[in-house]
């Protein structure tokens, strides 16, 4: 074997080693049981509450135990942290959303540096009729939130507003009518003072 061909073999081996090491660098974090994917599942509880289960798996699809999962809820002010839980032996972490939580987004994140996450829309189905019904329900305290907070005008409130504003504007009308009489009154109606 010539000196030249021996050098070429070493060079090829070195190149292969470098490429392999580089590939290993990319593969290692996920390969060594690191969270690579989060899958969210939603299940309804018997009491109306909803359970959200996050399954954390690595790059090969195997569940990752003892991984930290942060559950967050979308609010008008950004993401509100609900809970931080470790996964069990099956790679799962769960939280419970109380009854009445619907039409919102829940985010689960796992992994310390370059975390992975998933978003689940909770209660995206069309909501039923409003729990607080306007009118008599509100006033008779039959709704869970009695009072004037109502999606539709409360008849009694509208009547009260109409009475007050109507009375005031009717008085303004009377004043306008008197002003018209002043305007139309003739000087002959009485001596000038």
């Amino acid at each position: 074997m010539s000196r030249h061909s021996r050098f070429g073999t070493v060079s090829t081996c070195l190149r292969g080693f470098c490429l392999g090491a580089l590939a290993l660098l990319f593969v290692l974090p996920t390969w060594a049981g690191e969270p690579a994917r989060v899958t969210l599942k939603l299940a309804a509880g018997p009491d109306g509450a909803q359970w959200i289960t996050a399954l954390v798996t690595d790059a090969e699809g195997a569940p990752v135990p003892e991984a930290s999962v942060v559950f967050k809820l979308r609010t008008a002010f950004g993401w509100l942290t609900l809970a931080e839980q470790p996964t069990d032996a099956s790679g799962q972490a769960r939280i419970r959303l109380p009854a009445g939580t619907w039409a919102t987004e829940v985010l689960a994140e796992s992994g310390d540096v370059e975390g992975v996450g998933a978003i689940l829309t909770v209660g995206a189905r069309s909501p039923g009729p409003p729990r607080i019904r306007p009118g008599p329900d509100v006033l008779r305290a039959l709704s869970p939130q009695p009072g004037f907070i109502s999606p539709r005008p409360v008849p009694e409130l509208v009547a009260l507003l109409g009475l007050v504003l109507g009375g005031i504007w009717a008085t303004y009308g009377y004043v306008a009518w008197l002003l018209r009489r002043i305007h139309r009154s003739e000087p002959s109606q009485g001596p000038k003072l």
């Binding site: 409130l157 005031i168 504007w169 008085t171 004043v175 009154s185 000038k192 003072l193």
Partner: protein, 523 residues
């Protein structure tokens, strides 16, 4: 020539009362020009906001109400007392009211006009106002507010206009020197008034009806403004006494605005015979009573949550009492309530003039001390980084107790001055009340929004604080200038002191000064 001779002239008394219509020196035009420039600058700022959106302001997702809504509550509050005070004094037959009722009612008119614009400015997109009509919810306090302000603006305009009719007829008949459009305006507005018994009867009837109805309307307006805050679940706003608290604050600031206007017109048009010291004394009593009521409400409003310090409200209360807003809060209480009350009461004590016998308690040394303190503070603040690098603290050079000592010294030195000049004392007190009233509105709006029950999360760092920008300050200055322009414009078009009502005042000036009733010189 012949026309002028045929036109009846004003009497000397009428000419003095119409001085605001005719007098127009360099000072007046300079004032109007300056106000106009500020107003136009405010318009430029608003155009900038319209073009670039609310991003040019300090308003963000969390503080969506800032200086604009503070202006709104302030202007509505100032508008409160004009019609209300005038109505109560009319109904109770207080004769001393006659020279000042119109300037009080005009304040209501001008401040309502500017106040009603502020929510529109705050909206950012004025075209969305239409949505209030299309989708407005009758069960929302926001819609109640629009309805009540519209109703109050209509009522207070009528209440201002109706007692002006005889004066407008006087101007129609005798204002020969003015331009033709003025006479046409007076002719149109005077409704053919001929001063007949029938017309007088109808005018009196209207005034009685309006005086009765305007009182509940005025009270309801500021109560409804308070409900915009009180009907929400937020720290600092979720209070049952917010309605009466707002009303008392509005009466306090409104009465102060009337005193300021009285002092300004008395000084500008030499109306000492009509707006006497007795008027300032009476209005001072009113201001003291309203200030005490407002102070009581303030104490009750803050003590109730502060005693419990509930977890949800702790952030807000801490911010106000000892946090970022603490200086502003305590400064407002001192200069907006306590100091005006002291200025209105202490100078009346008989031994106050004797304070000048003590050389240190004369104004000169006190002013010198205050000036030295101010200069030292400015110089040391400028050199503060270098002092800090040298290991020296600013507080070591000027201890914190120096400022209150200088302030008390200055106050004591000027007490005898205010004793000799009660009108000046009332004017200074009223200006302080109005300044404090605006600061208080700012403190009602901003700290609560910065301390929501749900913590501010994942927002850019700058969004958790509120810093008004030049756009907001410019629009605020423009609104104030607009208010003053409307008010001065009104006084240039119409007599600011009622002519026919003061002509009918029963008591001569001497009796007025003794008993505090309006003085009307017999001419």
């Amino acid at each position: 020539m012949s026309t002028r001779q045929a036109t009846p002239r004003f009497s000397e008394r009428e000419e003095r009362l119409l001085a605001s219509l005719t007098a127009g020196g360099v000072g007046t035009y300079a004032l109007i020009g300056g106000l106009l420039a500020v107003f136009l600058w405010g318009l430029v700022a608003y155009a900038t906001q319209l073009r670039h959106g609310l991003g040019v302001t300090g308003l963000r997702d969390h503080v969506l109400w800032g200086v604009y809504i503070a202006n709104f509550v302030f202007f509505i509050g100032v508008s409160h007392v004009g019609a209300l005070m005038s109505a109560i004094l009319r109904l109770t037959g207080a004769e001393w009211r006659r020279p000042i009722t119109r300037m009080a009612e005009a304040i209501t008119f001008a401040s309502l006009l500017m106040g009603a614009l502020m929510p529109l400015v705050d909206m950012g997109r004025p075209d969305r106002l239409l949505n209030l009509v299309r989708y407005g919810r009758l069960q929302s306090p926001v819609l109640w507010d629009i309805l009540s302000i519209t109703t109050y603006l209509t009522g207070s305009t009528l209440f201002l206009y109706v007692p002006m009719i005889p004066d407008l007829a006087l101007l129609r008949d005798r204002y020969a020197d003015g331009p033709a459009w003025r006479r046409r305006l007076y002719t149109f507005l005077s409704l053919g008034w001929q001063d007949t018994p029938a017309q007088r009867h109808q005018l009196e009837l209207i005034m009685k009806v309006m005086a009765v109805i305007i009182i509940p309307i005025a009270v309801s307006v500021h109560t409804v403004v308070s409900w915009i805050f009180g009907m929400t679940l937020r720290a600092g706003w979720n209070s049952t006494i917010l309605g009466p608290y707002f009303v008392s604050g509005a009466l306090f600031s409104g009465a102060a605005a009337v005193i300021t206007a009285m002092a300004a017109f008395r000084w500008a048009y030499r109306l000492e015979d009509y707006i006497t010291e007795a008027h300032f004394r009476r209005m001072g009593y009113l201001l003291i009573a309203l200030g005490l009521a407002y102070g009581y409400f303030t104490f009750a409003e803050y003590l109730t949550p502060a005693y419990k310090m509930a977890t949800a409200e702790r952030g807000y209360l801490t911010a106000v009492f000892s946090g970022p807003f603490a200086r502003l809060f305590w400064f407002t209480q001192l200069t907006g309530i306590l100091l005006p009350l002291l200025l209105l009461t202490l100078p009346r004590i008989a031994w106050v003039p004797r304070l000048h016998r003590v050389p240190l308690l004369r104004p000169q040394p006190a002013l010198a001390a205050a000036a030295t303190y101010a200069v030292a503070s400015v110089v040391l603040s400028a050199a503060s980084p270098r002092l800090t690098m040298a290991g020296l603290n600013l507080n070591e050079w000027i201890p914190p107790w120096v400022l209150p000592v200088v302030a008390v010294w200055l106050f004591l030195a000027f007490l005898p001055v205010f004793h000799a000049r009660p009108v000046m004392a009332a004017a200074v007190a009223s200006l302080l009340v109005n300044f404090g009233a605006w600061l208080k509105r700012y403190l009602i709006v901003v700290p609560t929004l910065l301390n929501p029950f749900l913590p501010i999360q994942r927002a850019p760092a700058g969004w958790a604080v509120y810093q008004p920008t030049w756009v907001e300050w410019s629009i605020t200055a423009g609104a104030l200038a607009g208010f003053l322009l409307i008010y001065i414009g009104f006084s240039k078009l119409f007599p600011i002191v009622p002519i026919w009502e003061t002509r009918e005042a029963p008591a001569p000036r001497e009796a007025a000064d003794q008993e505090g009733i309006v003085g009307v010189p017999a001419l």
